[in-house]
């Protein structure tokens, strides 16, 4: 069942300790797989635990919830890993794109610098991987420009020199995808990535995510509450409800 899966979640359970000491169950027995070159969508109403499946095992919640079960990425178990090890997987192994790029970009830093920062993180983690000419400020700038083009944005220099607020919502979301790609991840989690974008631009972002799976062979997890959008993008669909996998995965 896990053949070829880059990510394999089995029996994932998640509890949030609440202030008054009562344990709030968030996830119960979740199974999920993601494969390279495939878009696997998770649909469900808000609060059903779609994002928690990924944010919690990656250590991205401020309050440390208790996690049980298994979250294996490229064969490595992430449940029980410390912050240092998780940090090395984030960005370069598993990258994320969020709902509202204006709030998820640092508002006071130019987009180009934020992308270059991600490129530098990836460089720092591949001591032998990159040739000498692939490093340095200029090389990062060129790479950032190339990434901006690859997500379908013209005028890369203008986008890179802009502050997030100076870009339109659609452009900003594409720039956020470019930033996610800057770490050369194998798995991309798009968490409601098209929900804040208006209808016309939504299709464009959907096509872009689709092409990342088709052309780059990326494994894409497409989290959405919009069944129509999911039908347009996904190879497989799972439905979540109340912290459990309700239906699926269905192949489309």
């Amino acid at each position: 069942m896990t053949d070829g899966a880059i990510l394999s979640i089995r029996g994932l359970e998640l509890d949030f300790p609440s202030r008054v000491g009562i344990v709030v169950p968030a996830l119960r027995g979740v199974d999920f797989d993601a494969r390279a070159g495939e878009v696997h969508a998770i649909v469900g109403e808000s609060g059903s635990g779609k994002s928690s499946c990924f944010l919690a095992p990656l250590g991205l919640y401020a309050a440390r919830p208790s996690i049980r079960g298994s979250f294996r990425f490229e064969g490595r178990e992430l449940v029980g890993l410390g912050e240092r090890e998780l940090c090395r997987i984030r960005g370069t192994g598993i990258a994320m794109v969020f709902q509202d790029p204006l709030r998820y970009f640092d508002p006071s830093m130019r987009v180009g610098r934020q992308i270059a920062e991600t490129i530098a993180i990836a460089e720092g983690r591949s001591p032998m991987g990159l040739p000498a000419e692939g490093r340095g400020r200029r090389a990062r700038r060129l790479r950032a420009r190339e990434l901006i083009r690859s997500v379908g944005l013209g005028e890369p220099d203008r986008v890179l020199a802009a502050y997030p607020r100076e870009l339109s919502g659609g452009m900003c979301q594409r720039a956020m995808i470019a930033q996610a790609l800057a770490g050369n991840p194998r798995l991309l989690i798009a968490d409601e990535a098209t929900s804040a974008v208006d209808a016309g631009l939504k299709r464009g972002i959907e096509r872009l995510l689709r092409s990342l799976a088709d052309e780059r062979g990326l494994a894409v997890v497409y989290i959405s509450h919009d069944p129509a959008s999911v039908r347009r993008v996904a190879d497989r669909v799972s439905t979540m409800s109340g912290g459990r996998m309700a239906e699926g995965p269905w192949r489309r």
């Binding site: 006071s108 203008r158 020199a161």
Partner: protein, 322 residues
């Protein structure tokens, strides 16, 4: 490329318009302070002529002294003369020593400026890192210790802390001079006494602003792209937390000159603060007014510069942040 230049030009134009508006308000502030300084000096009980002539002087001598000081004329005349002088940047002459007020102030100003700069630098060098540390370790032992220290620093008055510092580091362990000289070493203890409560306030402000920023979505995103908690805090949250901290530091810098009045007395430093104190004791109206105007100009300029700096520190935000 050209559109990017245009955006840059618009940002510059915005900043210039903002600076001009602030400068106009600065001029208004100074005008109001000038009126208040004149009025308050006259409201003080006591008569400079009587002080100068001595309490047992004959009424005729006191009257002669008043005439020679010019305080026998009407208040309106005195004010008009002083205000006209002020507009020409002339602060008049001291009633007591007859020296130009601007000269007296210029002699004392550098020492107090150095003291204030040193105290301000100390406050920021301590306040920013401690505030950041206590925000990133919220609820931990370090956070508690820093909170305790800052409460202590806030509750100790500057002159009391000054006396403690003198007893500790000039008497018991004599590494700093007991009496004020003109070198930097003699300014260290006064600067600590003057800056301690500011450091505590900056620690608090930094902590609050950092906590606000640390709960922002962009910090989650920064960690999602592979930064550690502390990297995300330092590279992203801290710079967004800076504007209110810079604003506070600017306000504090202006207030430091007022605080210097007491601290200079404790450390017997011949600065602007002691000059103002002596002037008040002698009812030397022009000198009191001159000192008050200089204090006001410094306080206004400092908060003006801090506003500019905090606007520049958050370039992506635009007008909304002001």
């Amino acid at each position: 490329m050209r559109r990017h230049d245009r955006a840059g030009a618009k940002r510059r134009r915005d900043l210039i318009a903002y600076a001009l508006g602030k400068a106009a308000r600065l001029a208004l502030t100074i005008a109001v302070v000038a009126v208040l300084a004149f009025a308050l000096a006259r409201v003080l009980p006591g008569d400079p002529a009587l002080t100068a002539a001595g309490l047992d002087a004959r009424p005729a001598d006191v009257e002669a002294m008043r005439r020679s000081m010019g305080t026998d004329r009407g208040l309106a005349t005195q004010f008009a003369e002083w205000a006209l002088g002020l507009a020409r940047l002339d602060l008049g002459a001291s009633l007591v020593s007859k020296e130009r007020v601007s000269r007296l102030i210029a002699q004392r100003f550098p020492l107090t400026l150095e003291l204030a700069l040193l105290a301000s630098a100390f406050a920021m060098l301590v306040g920013l890192p401690l505030g950041e540390a206590s925000a990133t370790r919220k609820g931990g032992a370090a956070d508690g210790a820093i909170a305790f220290l800052s409460r202590l620093a806030l509750s100790l008055p500057g002159f009391w802390l000054g006396i403690l510092l003198l007893l500790g580091f000039a008497v018991a362990i004599p590494i700093f001079p007991l009496f004020g000289g003109k070198d930097l070493r003699s300014l260290v203890l006064p600067a600590l006494a003057l800056g301690a409560s500011n450091a505590a306030m900056l620690t608090r402000q930094t902590r609050t602003a950092m906590l606000d920023e640390l709960s922002s979505e962009y910090v989650v995103a920064a960690r999602a792209k592979g930064l550690s908690r502390s990297q995300a805090a330092r590279r992203h949250a801290l710079r967004n937390a800076l504007p209110p901290v810079i604003n506070l530091a600017g306000l504090q810098f202006g207030a430091l000159f007022g605080g210097a009045v007491v601290v200079e007395q404790v450390f017997s430093l011949p600065g602007l603060g002691r000059l103002a104190l002596t002037a008040v004791a002698q009812r030397d109206f022009p000198l009191v007014q001159g000192c008050v105007v200089v204090f006001a100009v410094i306080a206004s300029c400092a908060s003006f510069l801090a506003d500019l700096a905090s606007a520049a520190a958050r370039p992506g935000i635009g007008r909304a942040a002001r």
